[in-house]
């Protein structure tokens, strides 16, 4: 009896379409949602807050605010997507392909501002700081003058 | 929709532990697990049981504080399946448990460092200790 069931299964497998694929000659399309690796969309949108570095469970992102640099190790990354979900400017995206085969698994992907952009950013920051300092100085001076004027007026009144 | 099962935690002293578990066995409670936590200066054991008629799956947990160097009686007389957890607790945390029905004496879990989860125990109990406990 069992031979009929087994025979049925065998004949069906012999004459139906093969369920396997002739890889590597035929490669299946990766699904759109597949999780492979992370990349940054545009470095100019990044505010270097460091949330992605804090949330990564595999320690594969390093954010350097002073140097305006974002470094990523694709071979340490486990493609969980925590950084993509937590970025406040939505500047990270999940790509669907795994990183390419290589012999050096400490390679990094670095995004940083160019030298002119960094210099420009530093200059703007310096200008802002100078302006803020000047405004604080002016305010202090005005307050000191006002106090002196009040004391003079009070001294006159007391002297009277 | 019910979200979680109710939990009932009870603090139990080390000397009445065996009687409490024997009482639960009498009432046909089912055994779930034994777990240990390393605290600042002692260890804490958690024994978990489920009542036989718990429709909502209420879990009963007995919390026992074990000072360093104290010995804990085994409950394998009442629940034979507990030997796995008691051997594991001894091998990973260095807590001395006596009277286990299948006592592997430190050879159950193959780890490269003695008592990896509890660094204090590794200092207090140097190698080749705890082989034959003299509590009967």
């Amino acid at each position: 009896m069992g031979v009929f069931k087994l025979g049925g299964l065998t004949l069906k497998s012999l004459f139906s379409k093969r369920p396997t694929r002739r890889y590597p000659y035929e490669v299946r399309e990766t699904f759109d949602n597949a999780r492979g690796q992370i990349d940054m969309i545009d470095i100019h949108n990044c505010i270097f807050c460091g949330m992605c570095q804090r949330k990564c469970p595999a320690d594969s992102i390093v954010v350097d605010k002073a140097e305006s640099r974002w470094t990523y190790w694709p071979y340490k990354c486990v493609a969980c997507g925590a950084c993509v979900a937590v970025c406040p400017t939505k500047d990270l995206e999940m790509l669907k392909d795994r990183p390419p085969i290589t012999t050096d698994n400490k390679t990094t992907r670095v995004h940083e501002l160019t030298e002119e952009e960094k210099a420009e950013k530093a200059r703007i920051a310096a200008e802002k700081k100078a302006a803020a300092l000047a405004a604080a100085e002016a305010k202090k001076k005005a307050a000191a003058e006002k106090k002196a004027a009040e004391e003079a007026a009070g001294g006159d009144a007391a002297g009277e | 929709m019910i979200r979680f099962q109710p939990n009932a935690f009870e603090a139990v002293e080390l000397d009445v532990l065996f009687e409490t578990v024997a009482d639960l066995r009498q009432r046909e409670y089912r055994f779930v697990q034994i777990c240990a936590t390393t605290l600042e200066d002692s260890c804490e054991l958690l024994y978990t049981f489920i009542a036989p008629d718990a429709i909502d799956g209420c879990l009963t947990g007995l919390v026992v504080n074990v000072p360093d160097g104290a010995s804990v009686p085994s409950i394998t007389e009442l629940y034979p399946a507990a030997f796995v957890f008691e051997n594991e607790t001894h091998d990973l945390f260095g807590i001395d448990i006596y009277g286990i029905n299948l006592d592997f004496q430190g050879e159950f879990y193959k780890v490269s460092q003695r008592f990896p989860m509890n660094p204090r125990a590794a200092e207090q109990r140097p190698a080749d200790e705890g082989k034959e406990a003299d509590h009967e």
Partner: protein, 362 residues
């Protein structure tokens, strides 16, 4: 007085999916005693909780085991949500249960393939794993991963799954049901399979209760223990749920229970997809667990009852996270099932217990 020999079984053996060592004490050809030793896959994941905070640790719990991966992230999330008093949305609870039942199906299909391979019936192994590919493709289309899908998180479910996608999933599973039934029947009604499995490794109901066994291993000995009966989460909204029981107590009964559980999972998924409510899937999570708070939850994983315990200490790292998996509870039952069994039947008995040693050792 016959001579006793000790034969080491494992850690490397063709029928074992994961390494475990057993010293089999034999008298002639009968196993008298089996002494287990574990620790070959110990990664110290419970100690890693000191280094990774509670939102990062969910990705570590997923990687405890490849077969029960979603179950561990689900149990961890539920435990931390209970610790911090977070309530998730209904839609997230339904999605979690649907994916957990899909995970159960994938685990049982994998087990069926391994069992057939242990017999030497490789064609059935290939058929069962071909059906498993349908389930893995469903996972990859929806969440992006085949085995480890990073979908469950503290606060809900990370992916938005539309109702059309869910209807598509149910249609695929209905097509799978008939093929699966043919394949399972071919294995279970074969006379040579029956002669190797009926009456082997018998455990009576009383012994199963005494040894605190869990999961399909215990349900095959007529012990009605199933955590889904508690009705926690979306399981409470099912119209009727009965655990699949069998009173054989031997290897054949265990196979029968697992085969029927796959069909029960397909029914549960269809029912829940009909009833799923609309809404958000993630709830924002802020703050840290309180100092001294503790929480315990249980979950029915494919292999039995899994237990999760967490303890907070006021910082963003948990003080303790404990996972107790069903296989460690069943080791005593495994040792009992292996007594009075011939040496040639040992692989069969171990495969029908379905051990997952990487869960046991974390």
């Amino acid at each position: 007085m016959s001579k006793r020999t000790v034969v080491p079984f494992g850690p490397q053996h063709p029928v074992l999916p994961e390494p475990v060592h057993l010293d089999l004490v034999l008298e002639d050809e009968t196993v008298v005693n089996a002494i287990p030793r574990i620790g070959y896959v110990h990664r110290g994941l419970e100690k890693l909780v000191e280094k990774r905070d509670y939102t990062q640790f969910v990705y570590v719990t997923e990687r405890i085991c490849g077969i029960c991966s979603f179950g561990h992230s689900l149990g961890y999330s539920e435990c931390v949500e209970k610790l911090m008093g977070i309530e998730i949305t209904d839609r997230a609870a339904y999605l979690r249960v649907i994916f957990h039942e899909l995970s159960r199906m994938h685990s049982h299909l994998l087990w069926l393939g391994l069992l057939a391979d242990g017999f030497g019936f490789e064609a059935l192994f290939m058929h069962a794993w071909r059906l498993r590919e349908t389930v893995l493709d469903i996972f990859e289309e929806v969440t992006g991963g085949r085995v480890i899908f990073s979908a469950c998180d503290v606060g809900g479910f990370r992916q938005e799954v539309s109702n059309e996608t869910l209807a598509g999933i149910v249609a695929k599973l209905e097509r799978l049901r008939d093929e699966y039934r043919t394949i399972a029947k071919t294995l279970l009604e074969d006379s040579s399979v029956k002669s190797r499995m009926v009456g082997v490794g018998h455990i009576s109901t009383d012994k199963a209760l005494e040894l605190s066994m869990v999961g399909p291993f215990a349900r095959a000995s007529n012990v009605a223990t199933d955590e889904r009966l508690n009705g926690i989460g979306a399981y409470g909204d099912l119209a009727a749920f009965e655990p699949v029981l069998s009173d054989g107590g031997d290897c054949y009964a265990r196979c029968d229970v697992r085969v029927r559980e796959v069909l029960q999972s397909i029914d549960i998924i269809s029912e829940l997809v009909d009833k799923i409510p609309d809404g958000e899937v993630m709830v924002p999570v802020k703050g840290n667990p309180e100092d001294g708070a503790q929480a315990m939850t249980t979950l029915e994983q494919p292999r039995g009852q899994a237990f999760y315990y967490s303890k907070g200490n006021g910082t963003k790292n948990l003080a303790r996270m404990r996972v107790r998996t069903p296989t460690s509870q069943n080791i005593a039952g495994m040792v009992a099932a292996l007594s009075n069994v011939e040496l040639a039947d040992v692989p069969m008995v171990i495969l029908t217990i379905d051990p997952c040693i990487s869960c046991t050792e974390r």
